[in-house]
């Protein structure tokens, strides 16, 4: 997380710390599912078949402490069928689910996040929180950091991308957040973590996006998987749980 703050225990109780092909993040859904980005499991430009171990940790804001709380074995991995590992500039379908072998016991430091149910969560300027154990500037994080970012204008992000002569796919299943003028962003190691929005009506936190990709860190906009477009798939995978 660039330009963020250190999270306190219980600020983001859904935050998972993964170590698969390097650091990554995720969010707890229910009591035995982890929502994450597909590319944390199958990174781009990493063609060989993945045999990496799936280490998932939950329940703390400190990397050393969270790892002491024991790894949660994974029963099943489900990657969205639209994800293309071999297309380095296409993060379409960058979403995956990890089913834990055992349900976790919820508590103040370990709670699930909700799924979105309407498009208002993607309104321009709506502020959301992105948290993660990824790099901050040039340092690796030891503690969970978070940053507060606004949902950006889709056309602006598109224009910004093309002006940089980037051919990366920015599809309707993604949204962008942040501001080139801000020195705040997610970065490597935050992938899979969620863009969380607090619903003022229900006073619930909702995972509207998944940290997916960006051009460098803190130099513009960040791109997120648009979770609402995948809710049906998620529910199907979770067997309507």
């Amino acid at each position: 997380i660039i330009g963020g703050a250190k999270a306190k225990m219980g600020n983001f109780p859904w935050q998972a710390f993964t170590n698969i092909h390097g650091r990554g993040g995720g969010a707890l859904l229910g009591d035995r599912w982890i929502l994450t980005a597909a590319h944390t499991l199958y990174p781009k430009q990493h063609n060989e078949q993945s045999n990496a171990s799936l280490d998932v940790f939950l329940g703390h804001t400190n990397v050393e402490e969270i790892m002491k709380l024991a790894n949660h074995p994974i029963r099943r991995v489900s990657v969205h069928p639209d994800y293309r590992q071999d297309e380095s500039n296409n993060f379409e379908g960058d979403i995956a689910l990890l089913e834990l072998e055992n349900s976790v016991t919820l508590g103040p430091n370990l709670l699930p996040i909700c799924l979105p149910d309407n498009e208002t969560y993607y309104d321009l300027g709506l502020m959301g929180y992105v948290s993660g154990f990824g790099v901050m500037e040039e340092k690796i994080a030891h503690d969970l950091k978070y940053v507060r970012l606004p949902v950006a204008n889709r056309q602006t992000c598109e224009t910004w991308l093309r002006r940089k002569n980037r051919m990366d796919v920015f599809s309707q299943n993604m949204f962008c957040a942040g501001d080139p003028s801000l020195k705040q962003d997610a970065c490597q190691g935050d992938s899979g973590g969620v863009f969380a929005v607090r619903d003022q009506n229900t006073d619930r936190w909702v995972a509207t996006g998944i940290v997916s990709w960006g051009i460098g860190c803190s130099r513009g906009y960040g791109f997120y998987t648009k979770v609402i477009n995948y809710v049906d798939w998620i529910k199907k995978e979770m067997e309507e749980e």
Binding site: P13, W14, G30, L111, Y129
Partner: protein, 445 residues
Amino acid sequence: SDLLAQQLPQQLTSPGYPEPYHKGQENTADIQAPEGFAVRLVFQDFDLEPSQDCAGDSVTISASGSDPSQFCGQQGSPLGRPPGQREFVSSGRSLRLTFRTQPSMENKTAHLHKGFLALYQAVDLDECASQSEAGEEDPQHRCQHLCHNYIGGYFCSCHPGYELQKDRHSCQAECSSELYTEASGYLSSLGYPQPYPPDLRCNYSIRVERGLTLHLKFLEPFEIDDHQQVHCPYDQLQIYANGKNIGEFCGKQRPPDLDTSSNAVDLLFFTDESGDSRGWKLHYTTEIIKCPQPKTLDEFTIIQNLQIQYQFRDYFIATCKQGYQLIEGNQVLHSFTAVCQDDGTWHRPMPRCKIKDCGQPRNLPNGAFRYTTTMGVNTYKARIQYYCKEPYYKMQTRAGSSESEQGVYTCTAQGVWKNEQKGEKIPRCLPVCGKPVNPVEQTQR
């Protein structure tokens, strides 16, 4: 001559009959009947010269065991002693007829008497009658008890309780295996009320259907040889019911009426070589066995269709009030039936009804329960309330029902915890999403 009598009559005549007989002759005919028959002889024609006391011509008929009879003269004539229509039946198997004429110096034609024509035949000998006539003269050939004549013979039989011996005439007391199977009847010692015979070893068995009980009632007189000081030293009557001795009796005191509670009674009557007592007699009757009225052991047991009286083969069914279950020992019963046995007892004891216990309620993952009735009591009608560990979990509820309704479980009469809506399934505690206890707060403006 020797003649054999047959069942069809045969003729016997004097020599030369019907021509006048010659004087000075003597002829004898021995008529023999087959075994079991006697000889019957009837004169059809009789014409002998009459004389004083038949000292002249005569026919003499003699049979063993009876005095000879002498006849002379003519049938229908007052002179001499003609036999008339009289039948002569031998007392034994044989009869002898002797025809004797006196020698005479007179002209043969002066005596024009034809002689006789007789018919003889074999007729059944009534040995029994002859025995009674004979009295005690020939005890070896006399039936000791009863005599039965038949054509050509006779046989002997004995009074009840006695057995015909090998000599086929004498009887000896036999009572070693007397069996009585009628529902009621009389039994008595041999000869009752006359003195019973010596050296008896009698066994009277009464066997009636299962489910009946035998009652014994002794009649007067009751008299079995006794001794003042020693209990039944000479003769005694032992009574067994179902193989168990229920009494030994002697003396002149009639035993009390006995309710044997059994369908199998044996009476053993032993006598010594002497004595002159008159014996005993009893009247036995039967009554169907009854079982005691079933009584519940607790207020929760119900006896279905309770009868006023239960007898052999009747049964009753016991059930429990709602919320209770049948217990026999430590065994839970699904049903209970007891049958009245032939000994008047129930084939199994009355069960108890124990309140249903639903056992410890199932643990609710990510939740717990509390008793809304007495804590720790899990019996019928006990009630608990499940709840989830809030705020992290919330009970899954159906539309229109509250969490408290969903979480209420009652111990039912079936012995299971049940919720009105969910049945036996326990509720689920679902994770609460998006509600951090300590959400991030922005303070700096």
